[in-house]
Amino acid sequence: MRALTWHGKHDVRVETVDDPGIVNPRDAIIKVTSTAICGSDLHLYDHYIPTMQAGDILGHEFMGEVVEIGPKSTLKIGQRAVVPFTIACGSCYHCGKAQFSACDNGLPADNQDIAREAYGQPMSGLFGYSHMTGGYSGGQAEYVRVPFSDVGPIVIPEGIEDDKVLFLSDILPTGWMAAENCDIEPGDTVAVWGCGPVGLFAVQSAFLLGAERVIAIDHFPKRLELARRFGAETINFEESDTYEALMLMTGGIGPDAVIDAVGLEAHGLFVDNVVDQIKASTFLGTERTHAIRQAIIACRKGGRVSMPAVYGGFVDKFPLGALMEKGLTLRTGQTHVQKYLPALLAAVLEDKIDTTFLISHRLPLEDAAEGYKLFHDQQNEATKVVLKPGLSTAT
């Protein structure tokens, strides 16, 4: 089959690799019809995430048709399903508490030691996201082996187009959980750093969960425009001073809850960011964390900090003092995708949440490398790139 493989920093290629097949009884094989490039993939593309190996197949936001099933799969051949990016067993203690991204059994036993060293305990497996998260082949491919297919994938009713439901695989539940982690109360103002796919779904989710106002922060006019479409007020951090603008918008109080939907590659010529960038490029520190610092400083006293953004290692100058002195609550984590799927599918089918607005580019899988470059270099125009293995390169 054809698949997008990683070879190093800014080097991804579509190559021919061995097809997947059923290995374990609960497996299914999915023929991919749509597969997206995620902001998290850019962290791999920029080689910020360790334990990648040349030839790894990327991709964790995908859906398709069931073409093969193991004896214990509950899927049926011919069904269409969206696959969660978190590989979780459904039967361990954590899955029982709906903490799917903390599943005990998603990672092969031998891969668990890396996370045990780095984080104390291993987490769930993830598709196409380094060997620390299992080394599973990802979904930017024609076919994917999906473990635990009896508890992960959600079956999509006939007649619903891919583009409408594809984002159930990751960014829609991620934006939703980010808003849920804000414990929104009536009258609350929520500020969201980053108007990428995660931030934009967090904006919609915050309103649905009862926020009175949402303030969205980014520097790409097109992305800010999308946030405005859903009713958010906006701050362009290149045009305006974010902290001062937030104070004026909230009567000096600060937002009741803040969301970091930027992550470890924050943009901008801020002093702390430039220092982080130099350190990251010389391997002295691993993250560029301007957004989370600013969010914590801006948050009101006793407020909530929600951090869907991905960090992998250690940070410098984290405002621990502000977090403590103001009595803030910090909530974060890889998304417990499986927990949210039924309710969010229903919300999408009832048109309560808009999903297709996000897609700026639809490309054949063969053009995946160009897709990465586009999503990486032209973030203003490229809001979301969806790859379609079925699309011919001519179109």
């Binding site: 097949g21 290995v23 374990n24 067993c89 599973y136």
Partner: protein
Amino acid sequence: MFQTEKSHPRDDAAVVTSKDTKGSRQLLASSVTINRPASEVYAFFRDFAQLPQFMENIERIDVLDDKRSHWVVKGPADSRYEWDSRIIDEIEGQSLTWQSEDGGDVTNSGRVAFAEAGARGTVVTATIAYEPPGGILGKLVAKLFQREPSIQTRRDLRRLKQLLETGEIATAARNPAIFAEQEG
């Protein structure tokens, strides 16, 4: 020899976690919590023929009688290490202690305890005693475990947990051919 429950005199930590490197080096212990009732975990483990399913380096275990079993471990270049093992102490549903019999290729002994942990299932603690590294025996032991014995034990216990909780052992192998290659 297998008293992991017994603490270091100064605190409540298991003695194998002691930083005193002169003392109990030949002991290792590892725990895992399995979301199944203790009776079920015990019954699975008590049937020694099933152990190679999750113990990576064990090729085969033949059950000889109620207390004795014959273990076969793969070595390099098609070599085999074999010994007989005897259950020397057993508390139904709670613990199993075994000891290798004289005349085998490898000397080892161990104890596995199964403790009820309420809503979390069962805490399985394996304690294994082996000859200190060095010499021919040490080399054999290293072969037996392939990796550092404590890492191997930890990984085997995770596989046991996966098998009992999910009915299978997680693998990232994309297809059966890659899986067979990885299993060697």
